[in-house]
Symmetry: C2
Subunit: 378 residues, 2 copies
């Protein structure tokens, strides 16, 4: 019941009955209990501006999670910045905020920064109750036991007093794009992020796909046959060695171009620099070939491409689309669409919220002091 | 309730209550209705040989689907053969059978052949009631509207009088391997079939993954950068152009070897022929590289490799494993295992049964005369 209200927002008793499949008697017993405990509240029809005009019958009273009990917060602890986002019990995104910091900032200070940013969003009105939770994005794999994977949930629980769910921030951005972003409403989404690293995530049937052992969406470490560079992962010829920001800028300089960052590269592209255009053609072609392989294997309905490198625009997206079209199974060619990400830097934090709302609907099963271990995804 | 009994086999009232989450009153009402309609029957404790020894309390009566109402049949209409398998209401595979036929055999005759084969399995005791269904595997994509995708379900419904579910037979083999075969009990499985064509299927979270538009598992049409051959799909450089039986035999002959079929190639490998060994090393290496890319993206727990080409044994599996290990993200290297398929030619038909049992638990929602269209999977 709580899961339904969390996922769907306010519902009438009739709608709850239909969606839960419970008998009227059982349903009304449960509702009475939840009202008594304060977990849910009744809301009048006037609180739903989108409701149908009042007919001749009695206006339908709706039930909702208690706003004092159920806000959700998403926090993305990126390499050099903290981003936060908050949603109210009606699933409305209250807003998002972010602030850069030094790469070596201790975790205690990052958590304090997150708390301050959350405060600016909620104007001090944050009330995290028994149905609240925090969804957290972190850099890198969340399988195994990196020290920050133990420290961080503990610090956040101490600070906020609610369960903490953790996942990789790029995967969370994939989930967020499938809910609020470029692929809103899509059930099967492949998200590729081209940034300082190259990674991504898969949404399968509307849920974040994690794989059997928590490592999936590692598109940056797919071998590109013609690439020979060493990768930070220990492998050779990974897509990341040709499609990360550093790899692209290095290749541009090696070809005689001059660009210290993505903005300078974009300027060169806009001025029609043939070296920059040729380079992006090559990089995009390799990316598109990998995407085609993944489409043949997985069959997403939408591909979302994000990350700073997409600021290159059509000079990158065009070659990606051409290679995708050339290498995808011909029968699939016009069935998958490629879109640029729309959520930008807030994607990871929004994905943290999505993790809470969509992946853990019966959050109340997990007491706050256990959630860090019970629910640390994967 | 029917879905639970279909998926779990016989359960006590207490277990049904726990798993359904229904109140005792609601549960008992539903059970009474289902008993009256004949959809389920009570079974004594003595019918469960694995039950706990009789304690001091009253022996727990279990409930099960009515065996007269719920057999399931799987039929694989392969290119030149029909395979069938049957399961009783207790989810026990009664057996499987198959028979080759000419490639141009009309669908009417294939269906008649299937019926005869089913008869040999069930010894005339087949009773397909309102909870029964047939799961059918066919060659090629089941998206769109190929003529046999309309003819076949109609013919089968006319013949057997129950709903018909259709899916690609290679994908069904993937599902079957994850239930009864090499990856039994695994939730995330990648199945690759190396036969006259190269294809496969993905099991994600225990369910067959179909993708947004019904095309997934098309591993044979992933571009292998170093391959240049034209593929039947209209593309160039597909894995199928280097790893299908025909491609391997053609390459063997082009390199001076002599083998008319897989058995002859296997004999050459067993005699230590360096040309055959070198060729399989190369083919296996390309296959393993593709599998590594898919593991990085999807993260399966087990890879199952099937199809006639696997009769080459270690000469093929060894190079696949080495390339997989070389190109998979190092952190994933020891987390995925590669196994040879165990179900052989019965895989597609068994997968048809799995489709009925696992993918359509509430089959009774679909009247027999609509199921062909309602339930024709993609």
């Amino acid at each position: 019941m709580l899961g339904l209200l969390r996922r769907q927002g306010p519902l009438s008793r009739g709608e709850l009955g239909k969606r839960s499949g419970l008998s009227r008697t059982t349903l009304y017993d449960i509702i009475a209990e939840l009202l008594t405990s304060g977990a849910i509240v009744t809301t009048g029809q006037e609180s739903r501006p989108d409701a149908a005009p009042r007919g001749r019958g009695r206006p339908a009273e709706t039930l909702a999670l208690n706003p004092d009990a159920g806000q959700a917060i998403g926090i993305d602890f990126a390499r050099r910045a903290v981003h936060v986002a908050a949603v109210n019990v009606a699933h409305e995104v209250v807003g998002s905020a972010g602030e850069p910091h030094a790469a070596d900032l201790p975790w205690e200070d990052r958590v304090a920064l997150a708390e301050r940013l959350v405060g600016t969003l909620t104007e001090g009105a944050l009330r995290l109750g028994p149905l609240s939770a925090i969804g957290v994005g972190v850099v890198g794999p969340v399988t195994g036991s990196g020290s920050h994977l133990e420290t961080l949930p503990r610090l956040l629980r101490e600070r906020f007093g609610v369960p903490v769910l953790v996942d990789n921030n790029t995967r969370l951005a994939a989930l967020a794009e499938s809910i609020w972003g470029a692929a809103a409403g899509e059930q099967d989404v492949l998200y590729l992020r081209l940034s300082h690293g190259v990674g991504g995530g898969l949404v399968v049937g509307g849920s974040l796909h994690r794989g059997a052992y928590g490592l999936s969406g590692e598109f940056g470490h797919i071998t590109v046959e013609s690439a020979k560079g060493r990768c930070d992962c220990g492998g050779t010829g990974c897509l990341e060695t040709v499609a990360s920001i550093r790899a692209v800028l290095d290749a541009y300089r090696a070809a005689g171009g001059q660009a210290g960052d993505v903005a300078a590269l974009v300027a060169a592209l806009e001025s029609g620099d043939p070296v920059a255009l040729g380079l992006l053609e090559d990089v995009g072609s390799r990316i598109g070939t990998v995407l085609a392989a993944l489409c043949n294997a997985i069959g997403p309905g939408v591909i979302v491409v994000g990350g700073e490198l997409t600021e290159a625009g059509a000079a990158l997206i065009g070659p990606i689309e051409r290679a995708l079209s050339a290498h995808i199974l011909p029968i699939s060619r016009h069935r998958v669409t490629l879109r640029r990400a729309t959520l930008g830097e807030a994607g990871g934090a929004l994905g943290g919220i999505a993790l809470v709302l969509h992946e853990s609907p019966l959050l109340s099963r997990y007491p706050a002091d256990e959630a860090g271990s019970v629910e640390r995804h994967p």
